[in-house]
Amino acid sequence: MEIHIKLNGVAYNWEVLPNDTLLDVLRQRGIFSVKFGGCKHGECGACTVLLDGNPVNSCAMLAAQADGHEIITIEGIGEHPEQGWKKTRGLHQLQQAFVESGAIQCGYCTPAFILAAKALLEKNPNPTEAEVREAISGVLCRCTGYLKPVQAIMRAAAVMRGEIVPPVGGDDAIRMGLDWSKKPDLPETPVPQTDHGSHLAGTQVDLMPKVLTVAAEQPQVLKQIGKPEPKVDAVKLVQGKPAFAADFERRDMLVAKVLHSPVAHARIKSIDVSKAKSLPGVAAVLTWKDLPRVVYSTAGQSDPIPGPLDAFSLDKKVRFVGDRVAFVAAETAEIAEKALKLIEVEYEILPAILDSTESMKAGAIQIHDEPEYKNFADSNPLKNLAAEIRIDIGDIEKGFEEADRIFEAEYEVPKVQQAHIEPHVVVTYWDEDDRLVIRTSTQVPFHVRRMLAPVLNLPVKRIRVIKPRVGGGFGGKQEVLIEDVAGHLTIATGKPVIYEYDREEEFIASRSRHPMKIKLKTGVKLDGTITANEMYALSDTGAYGCHALTVTGNTGHKAMALYVGDGKYRKSPNIRFYADVVYTNTPPSGAYRGYGVPQGYWAVERQMENIARELGLDPITFRLKNAIRSGELHPFSTAWSEGREPRPEIIHTVGLEECVIQGKAAIGWDQKFGNQEWHQVPGKPHLRKGIGIATVMQGTAIPYLDMGGATIKMNDDGSFNLMVGATDLGTGSDTVLAQMAAEILGVPVEDILVYSSDTDFTPFDKGAYASSTTYISGAAVVKATEQAAERIRIRAARMLNSSVEEIILVDRMAVAQNGQQISLSAIALDALHHNDQEQIMGIGSYYSQSSPPPFAAQFAEVTVDIETGVVVVDQLIMAVDSGVIVNPITASGQIEGGMTQALGYAVCEEMVYDEKGQAREKDFVDYHIFRADEMPQLQTIFIQTYEPTHPFGVKAVAEIPMDGVAPAVANAIYDACGAKLTVNPATPERVWRSIHGK
């Protein structure tokens, strides 16, 4: 059938099928800004378009319904302001505001936000914050926490009304050295006046986070470091350019689909694909019989993989509902889906283990009985044991003997999903040299290449992995999850193949956070000194052991390291961490932002709160009394290091105490804690308010292992190409790496062109995980750039008749001590074309002997309905010591987004399975992630220490916001109503049961 539409002002007649969705039709015609979020009923809103001026989800309507209507996509509202000789209208004010305000992280949902905002502002040019939040509530974002998009929209609205808005990073820039707890006398940022009163106060004013520098040595004032530079990829993303893995066309590309197991545990007795193969349009159907039997791990980690090898691309056994049974490639998705239904499989059903406490019991069925299984360390498939950890520090029994009180409790944390809005997606094809190109949304392109080579029976050198823009990962894409599917099908057919998960596949056949059952035993003296602390974690790795050892190891390594005890225990803490990581017939666990640490802190911080309350101690004083301090040995550093040799590490910088001071002041702790009147809600006798804290530490990269590389080369005009293997998932790492290079070269960030990453062209990097990119890859960039800078100085000295030592690089110039100067572009032309020609470039790589921990104090304020158990989180404040902050806007975006994910962990997110292993959550309806219109107030405070092991003093920021929210919320619930939660999330019924002793 033919439809007539007006798209971005141009009339089109398109031939469509009755079942084509509008999303399909737009993307088939190259409108790639409209994104597929994997959902079928418009839950995520990434596919938003304006239909006759209203935001609608194009995945949830037929193209035929749009016949006769007008459609606007982001392509129709603005474009790059400079396109050579052609004059353009430039970016729309909303696009510009999103760029300036740091409202873009991964960028996958950015076009949808802007379109929704455009519809709002056309009807209501002066909206309240609540109206903005409602208007964008149809678009889910997993990166930002919504604060910066809301700020951007309010800012754009003001600009569109003709008001003057303060520049970001001008007067608003970091106020170094101010003590925010003492309410310094600051020049207030002018608040645009509106007719609505003071509704702008929450979001528009504070574009910049508060930053307090507490470094013993004040770092030198720098030009780029610490500046809220717009992201280097912002202009691209705000236009919805085809930057992501699926935004790609190739002639004759086939669509892959996977048949997933409907049962939790079974052997495949027979499988008949003849009907599927004979379906017109089907190019290939693959089963375990067709593929080489190569055992591997899907965990994207360095060699050797620190875990068992227990997976096959396809196997004759299925181990969870959602496991792979067969692959299909067909001309269209519809044909591939039909083919899946024609595959006939006979299963021999086996008993399934769905509860981790059953896995190691005598007589339990063995989930991995394949002879190819390869153990790592203490894994033992006979016992369904993927990993075992036994760490003893000090003398735990003696510590308990010295205690006045022993506290024991059991805690539990659920399986949860990363829920990146861009699903897993990969495109594979043979290039003209018969090399397999894998274009994939991954955090670990170099691990993909290395790990897939044996699986596909190709040498590493015949595989090229291209990582385009990634639409969020959060650990979920630290897995070589689906690249093999497309790779096998391209090998089988010789044709390009695209494989894109839908949202249900993300839930049933992806990876998730390890659920754990945790026992804690803590010895304490009556004065609050911790004498011994013991944790046992029973961790559920699901059907495969990916990240089993390392995730669970970090549960102890980070969460049990913070409280070493006071007095003599500081030098010799008594800590025990034992863990068993067991297989079950549930979807595999894996890497998820925080990597085992949020699980540990749920238990530890609930335990600390309970101990303080039981002993009548101030919970904050008690924590700080026992917390690790600068100059002390990381207690786990001599005991465990992700399956590798441990080496001692001194912690140089600990800003925790200042985090507590600033966070307390920001949330008004002293006015609220213990104030019975504050806990009441006037006129609402069933409501109680509560306030809570959790203090946490993380790590920064994996010492003696993680390595990143960088190269940089100078161009004719004095600009630079910076090529890094590091992967920006929306974190802003490309930007902060560019800022570091720009700082050294004395150029603006716009002169640094970042390319990341391609295994053929960029240096190796272990990938984006373990909070390592700014620290590890950043140090590599510094090394490479210093080489290039030295070559520039040498040439400049020669051109200026000066000495190399006298040359400084600043404002795109090389300046000699006598004031003579020459531009970098002149130096570049000299080097490339005129005299003693050379390519000015640098190459550097870095691996660290340290993993300096960031620290944080997380505060939460809640209101609890003591009759029904309903909890509303009113406010989250995080004060964090992440060392020097390279870019306060991108860093605070990380904190806000992390707190929001962690808020889901606190109150609503969990993955539940029935007695047959069927998932309860298969979409964003049942698996609820926070929307813009239901968010609590968020605030970020940075406490800047200066980490001496990094050239710019940085530590990590990415993962630590995941750690403290859930326990802080639970501690606030306890403060409100006395509910002692041991299991998260804090659902209404769990809270009700705790309040009412059910």
Partner: protein, 249 residues
């Protein structure tokens, strides 16, 4: 799979298409549920050109055309305040631009706050071409239109009542685990609908006043336990909410 798409320009044409026995035909409202249909082959009959997005009032209440979007409902003054809240909680902003009121009723499950509100308000579906009326509650219990009825042309929403609704969920924007909706008429008539579980919201109580309401609510929830909440919890929470709501009325 959707194999045919029709957009009739008159009700007669729509009825003719929907009564076509050669292929199953389904009315298409906003399409948010049907657009990914992967069952048997069907034809869809798009109602957007039939003029069913009108709203009128008379002494019976609001006559709301079937293809009014949920967002349209929010822009019509005169409903009880909690009715707007029910519409807001039904789905997110984007989907409210697309989802029609009739489509939301037909595609609803027990967690629908809009339908719980409509059940408590004793709203009526008006079917075409028969013109017959059917209460929302009756339709939901059978999921079957009355005889010679192919599509819902309007929904009659009574407004000579007060509506209060309480909603329990994990977050303010999450789907409900319990909904208690109470409609009260000046005469004292009280209707209570419960939702947050099951295939559709249920009518728990309809009496000349609220006497016996709590017992009826507890009774209605005795088998409400599911993967999301226990019956014990729903009963306790519903009785507390009910008392709170009746006391504040």
């Amino acid at each position: 799979m959707i194999t045919q798409y029709h957009r009739p320009k008159s009700m007669d044409e729509a009825i003719r298409l929907l009564s076509n026995n050669s292929q199953k035909s389904i009315p298409l409202g906003g399409g948010t549920k049907i657009s990914h249909w992967d069952g048997e082959d069907i034809a869809v009959v798009d109602l957007q050109s039939l003029g069913l997005s009108t709203v009128s009032t008379d002494r019976d209440g609001f006559h709301v055309g079937a293809v009014n979007t949920l967002q349209n409902l929010l822009e019509i003054p005169g409903f009880p305040i909690d009715f707007y809240e029910a519409v807001r909680k039904e789905t997110n902003f984007n989907l409210r631009q697309q989802s029609t009121i009739a489509g939301s009723i037909v595609a609803s499950d027990g967690k629908s706050p809009l339908v719980a509100a409509l059940v408590s308000m004793d709203a009526l579906l008006v079917w075409s071409p028969s013109g017959k009326q059917q209460s929302v509650g009756e339709y939901l219990s059978l999921r079957n239109p009355t005889e010679y009825s192919f599509l819902i042309s309007e929904i009659l929403i009574k407004t000579n009542l007060t509506l209060s609704m309480e909603y329990i969920a994990r977050t303010p924007g999450d789907r409900s685990q319990l909904i208690v909706a109470i409609a009260r008429w000046n005469s004292g008539r009280t209707r209570i609908a419960l939702g947050g579980f099951g295939k559709n919201p249920i009518l728990a109580f309809d009496g000349p006043n609220a006497e016996g309401a709590e017992f009826a609510v507890l009774n209605s929830l005795s088998n409400s336990g599911d993967a999301w909440a226990s019956a014990e919890y729903r009963q306790d929470a519903a009785s507390r909410l009910l008392r709170r709501m009746l006391n504040s009325a």
